[in-house]
């Protein structure tokens, strides 16, 4: 909402400097976004009177003028314009003056003749023909009779460039403040000065509307009130300068007197108005009804709109002429030949206007006001004001009488005034009388402890709403600041600490944390080579995505990680070691919330990085998380991973994730020209399987015995099998099993491999004897032989 300060001054007297005014309004709840002082870009431009116009001695297309600008001597200015005549008053930019868009004017010579400045055209002053219809866009702007000024006067007030326009951000609960009067009321209450709402009056009326027009409201629910007045013998023409200036300051383009009046009233009262050309109202009958199936209407913007039965239209006896509250029809608008008009000042149901506007994809100044829910009590003052302005502008003769189809509920809302509760709620102590004064200043009635809410304040429903009114005029910043009473334990949950460990452990290992989008493109599933029919492709689809790239909720975090690695690779970053704690979304059925599972995703590329590096990162993480029961099981059929370099991670016997070298085909899809390693782990499963109960084990007092075993087994046998067997057969005295060599070559039979382990054994309560250690080795070898594993000769 743009507010003209000149317009505001019609209704409330504020003397504060503009900056203070903006500050004060902001602090009382009408947020100011900024303000513009009109003409602030213009300096040293004055009214000049043309004394003489002579041909330029050296140029046919130029003339040399003498001008009176109230200096000691007339000044000489050369111009190329051909409309300058002696006696005319013109805007003169003097030597050293500035014009809009940073233009600076200096004196100089034109073809040998001195020019002490410049006479200005409308565009040079950032004006248009809408501002001065009698002007011209090419030549110099010759000031008309409406410009009161004498030579030497500052041009700005003379051409009306002396208003200040304040831009407000009005919240959706205050449609009443989308108007000059609404803001005047707020300003008056802010500055504790009087404000009285105007009572528009029509002086002279002819004829009676009832002889010309009837209004029928078929859908009173969608149209609680419909008020109409008429004007005949309309004389279409430009509206006066003051009106055009105010419209311009408010950001509305002047059109003609009737259209300007409807806009002016909308800005002043917040009530959208519509003017129909009476000759197109067939049978003089206006009907507010739901649109019929298949009905269409070409709106003012020339687009044919398909209407549906939920939409309210304003029709005559034949067809619709406006989408109620949204936009008028193309043919029924005001034209130069309009003779008689109908002013519509109605109240439409906000939610219905909002739906209609959305369906049509058509949001107008009118619809955006109606959809917030307007006050049915404003219909009459607004239409009266329109008629008053018609008289004032001499734009026609107001027809007597008014049609008012009123189905609105006029019961005023009342609330008890609860000063004690309000003081306690806000943490302040102000007397009841002061509260009453605040409320009365914004047109609430307070009698015997009962508040009557004004009709334009539909947002006031509870005592908390009343408290806000008190608070904002008392001043939010006058409310003291106190700390919370009572005790409360702020702490992280077990689970939150667990996630903290995840993050810290990975960071400590040199992996950096990333954050990626939750939605991805369905094509990303192709990029990670998921088969056409697989359950991971079944994702939640966004009905209104920004684009295909962000149209489904990811069921796997892997593509987001690969996308990030790809971006880094293609940005020529030599290495990237990354992790994300992010969510996967698994659908559970139509209209059901999905399962949201947090995943830890690792992704790495770096010179010399390999499968065991990422496996190490994961194992270190598992150690930090106290997850002890885990297994890496070779997995050959994960489509996203290298079939020979991929493992499923089992935790507590359940599949918790996957780890491996990313499949070269996938790397190709992501345009990554190096080996990439990735892993993914389910946070819930890790959390459930943590074994964080710790008991101290005394440091060993007795020496360990160690034995090295070189074993021969089939080359395909996972060493994990060997290790498990060793662990199981050595039993309780086992301290550690460490693989220190895997060898295949000359001395080893083809198809076999040699695996060497160092086994350390220790008892807590005694020195282990050689016999005991040997027995354990013997047991182990026996168990291993069951698997076809032999001791290397």
């Amino acid at each position: 909402m743009n507010l003209s300060m000149k317009w505001l001054s019609d209704y409330v007297k504020i003397d504060a400097p503009i900056h203070d005014f903006c500050e004060a309004m902001t602090m009382s709840g009408s947020k100011v976004e900024g303000y513009t002082v009109e003409g602030s870009e213009i300096s040293r431009v004055v009214v000049g009177k043309v004394l003489s116009v002579e041909k330029h001695p050296n140029a046919d297309s130029l003339v040399v003028c003498m001008l009176d600008v109230a200096q000691e001597q007339p000044i000489q200015i050369v111009t190329g314009a051909d409309n300058v005549v002696p006696g005319a008053l013109v805007p003169v930019a003097l030597d050293g003056s500035t014009l809009p868009h940073g233009v600076k004017i200096r004196k100089g010579k034109l073809r040998g003749e001195l020019s002490n400045g410049m006479m200005c055209s409308l565009p040079e002053l950032a004006l248009t023909l809408h501002d001065f219809p009698y002007g011209t866009e090419e030549g110099i702007f010759l000031l008309g009779e409406d410009c009161e000024g004498k030579p030497g006067d500052d041009i700005r007030p003379v051409i009306g460039l002396d208003d200040t326009c304040v831009e407000f951000e009005i919240t959706s609960n205050r449609p009443d403040c989308l108007s000059v009067l609404g803001l005047a009321r707020e300003a008056a209450a802010t500055y504790k000065v009087p404000f009285v709402a105007p009572q528009p009056k029509v002086q002279k009326e002819t004829d009676d509307i009832k002889n010309l027009l009837s209004v029928e409201v078929q859908s009173p629910e969608l149209c609680p009130r419909y008020v109409a007045r008429m004007v005949k013998n309309v004389k279409i023409g430009p509206s006066p300068r003051w009106m055009r200036e105010r419209l311009r300051a408010s950001g509305v383009r002047p059109i003609n007197n009737i259209v300007d009046i409807t806009n002016y009233v909308m800005l002043e009262y917040g009530q959208p108005m519509h003017a129909f050309d009476y000759k197109y109202v067939k049978d003089g009958k206006i009907i507010a009804r739901n649109a019929r199936p298949g009905e269409t209407l070409t709106t003012l913007d020339g687009i044919e709109r398909k209407l549906d039965e939920q939409m309210l239209v304003i029709a005559d006896s034949e067809k619709p002429s406006a989408v109620a509250g949204v936009m008028g029809g193309e043919y029924s608008g005001i034209a130069d030949d309009t003779e008689m008009i109908v002013f519509e000042s109605a109240c439409f149901k906000g939610s219905s206007i909002r739906t209609t506007s959305k369906k049509l994809g058509l949001r107008t100044e009118s619809s955006s006001r109606f959809e917030k829910g307007l006050d049915p009590e404003t219909c009459i003052p607004a239409v009266q004001r329109a008629c008053e302005l018609v008289e004032l502008l001499g734009a026609g003769e107001v027809v007597g009488g008014m049609i008012d189809v009123d189905n609105a509920d006029h019961t005023p809302r009342t609330l008890p005034l609860t000063p004690e509760w309000i003081n306690e709620f806000l943490g302040i102590e102000i007397p009841t009388g002061e509260m009453e004064n605040i409320l009365r200043a914004i047109d609430f009635k307070v009698e015997n402890g009962v508040i009557t809410v004004p009709s334009f304040r539909a947002d006031i429903e509870t005592k908390a709403d009343v408290a806000e009114e008190i608070a904002r005029f008392y001043g939010y910043n006058n409310i003291p600041t106190t700390t919370l009473r009572g005790s409360a334990q702020g702490h992280l949950t077990e689970r939150q600490k667990f996630e903290g460990v995840v993050s810290r452990t990975l960071l400590a290992q040199g992996l950096s944390e990333i954050i990626t989008y939750s939605f991805i493109s369905p094509k990303y599933y192709d990029k990670i080579c998921l088969p056409a029919q697989c359950k991971e492709r079944d994702s939640l689809k966004i009905l209104n995505p920004l684009g295909e790239d962000t149209s489904v909720m990811r069921t796997t975090t892997l593509p987001s990680m690969l996308e990030t690695l790809s971006r880094n690779y293609n940005n020529r970053n030599q290495s990237a070691l990354l992790f994300e704690i992010g969510t996967e979304y698994t659908p559970t059925g139509d209209d059901q919330l999905p399962v949201e599972k947090k995943q830890i995703t690792l992704g790495c590329y770096q010179d010399g990085y390999d499968f065991f590096a990422i496996k190490g990162a994961v194992e270190t993480l598992l150690e930090a998380l106290d997850v002890k029961d885990y297994d890496f099981v070779q997995k050959e059929d994960d489509p996203s991973f290298h079939p020979g370099r991929c493992a499923e991670i089992l935790v507590g016997g359940q599949v918790c994730g996957v780890i491996g070298e990313v499949h070269p085909r996938v790397c190709l899809n992501y345009e990554i020209g190096t080996r990439v390693y990735a892993a993914k782990l389910d946070v819930d499963l890790l959390y459930e399987n943590r074994d964080h109960e710790k008991t101290f084990v005394p440091l060993p007092k007795f020496p360990a015995s160690s034995r090295d075993l070189a074993l021969i087994c089939d080359e395909g046998m996972p060493v994990a099998t060997l290790e498990k067997t060793i662990r199981a057969s050595v039993g309780g005295v086992l301290e550690s099993v460490k693989l220190f060599d895997v060898y295949q070559g000359a001395q080893i039979e083809k198809g076999k491999k040699s695996v060497a382990y160092s086994i350390s054994m220790r008892a807590q309560d005694r020195t282990l004897t050689d016999e005991e250690a040997d027995a354990a080795v013997k047991r182990t070898l026996k168990a291993l032989s069951q698997l076809g594993v032999t001791l290397r000769a």
Binding site: T481, L484, N573
Partner: protein, 339 residues
């Protein structure tokens, strides 16, 4: 003979003086003190001496042996010392050469600042909770006093999964979930990601992070709201931070406010950072709307509370002077490495 012994002592001394290695010293020991060494050789001739001379010469020989041995020991330690000094000289490093480093991972700047915010609120007795990112219309809107046709819904461009299921546009639905499962007193913050259908540019992202806060108890006042949030911003931005509360509107709080801090660039005079306003908007807040309390079965006559919500990205952007929001989600390691 006495002369010969003295001579040996001198020769040994000279030999040791010029010796340069342990090996040489060993040879000297053998040469003078060994079984076939010179001193032994001389002592073997003791038989030819008189009874009076024998003890004198014997004593002298022992003294000389002891002296040579002492000299050998001291020469050894001298040489070792020299050897150590040589090694230390040779081992001199240019300590300004690059180090061998284990790479350090960097936490995402958003989460770094989030952790800071969490710490501040933990210190004020708040707990931390999370909620689902895919939400029902009820929790995201209805229960927060934003019925289906509420005009304020337009200001939050929502991604829909179905008529009833959507991507939450705010962390506020978690307020409802918390109050449904926990009776007052409630003191909680809710960090999380939220979604709005804003096209991506330098200042808009369809995904961003919010931190929601909620306090419900008997006798919670707007003064408490102001006090709590003032402590928070002063912790975050420094004790000299100037704060103001300005009326605003949110459907789920009443009274509602926005909290601004005085622009730290221009001290309120107005500059490009604060877009000439002199103040920078930090968060939205207010007293929990009685209808919201009713929706979760809390009696607004018995309890009151306040809630607040802030965008995390903007805090991080201001802190590090980051002008482009997209950098957060591109995760270039050169970006992440800076924080």
């Amino acid at each position: 003979m006495k002369q010969a012994i003295e001579n040996i002592r001198n020769l040994a001394h000279e030999a040791l003086e010029s010796s340069q290695s342990l090996k040489e010293i060993d040879e000297i020991r053998v040469r003078f003190l060994g079984k076939k060494g010179e001193l032994t050789n001389i002592l073997k001739q003791m038989g030819s001496l008189s009874a009076e001379e024998r003890p004198v010469i014997g004593q002298l020989a022992n003294e000389i042996r002891a002296k040579i041995e002492t000299e050998i020991t001291s020469r050894i330690s001298q040489l070792k010392e020299q050897e150590l000094e040589r090694r230390l000289r040779e081992e001199r490093l240019d300590v300004t050469l690059p180090s061998t480093r284990h790479p350090l991972g960097k936490q995402h700047p958003i989460n770094q600042v989030l952790d800071e915010v969490k710490d501040i609120f933990l210190g004020m007795g708040f707990s931390i909770t999370e909620g689902p990112e895919v939400e029902t219309d009820y929790y995201n809107f209805e229960a927060l006093n934003l019925p289906k046709d509420h005009p304020a819904r337009d200001t939050q461009d929502t991604f829909y999964i179905s008529d009833n299921i959507l991507l939450r546009t705010q962390t506020s639905p978690v307020q409802i979930r918390v109050m449904e499962r926990q009776k007052p007193p409630v003191r909680v913050i809710v960090p999380g990601r939220v979604f709005r259908s804003d096209a991506v540019d330098a200042t808009h992202s369809p995904i961003f992070h919010q931190i929601e806060g909620l306090v419900v108890d008997k006798g919670v006042t707007m003064a408490d709201l102001k006090g709590t949030l003032e402590i928070f911003v002063k912790e975050l931005y420094g004790p000299e931070t100037v704060v103001r509360f300005r009326p605003h509107h949110f459907p789920f709080t009443e009274p509602s406010a926005e909290m601004d801090i005085m622009c730290f660039e221009c001290q309120g005079k107005g500059c490009s950072l604060c877009k000439g306003e002199g103040w920078i908007e930090i968060l939205g807040c207010g007293m929990v709307h009685p209808k919201v309390l009713q929706n979760v079965g809390i009696d607004p006559d018995e309890y009151s509370g306040f809630a607040f919500g802030m965008g995390l990205e903007r805090i991080v952007m201001r802190r590090y002077n980051i002008k482009d929001l997209r950098l957060f989600y591109e995760n270039d390691v050169r970006f992440l490495g800076q924080f």
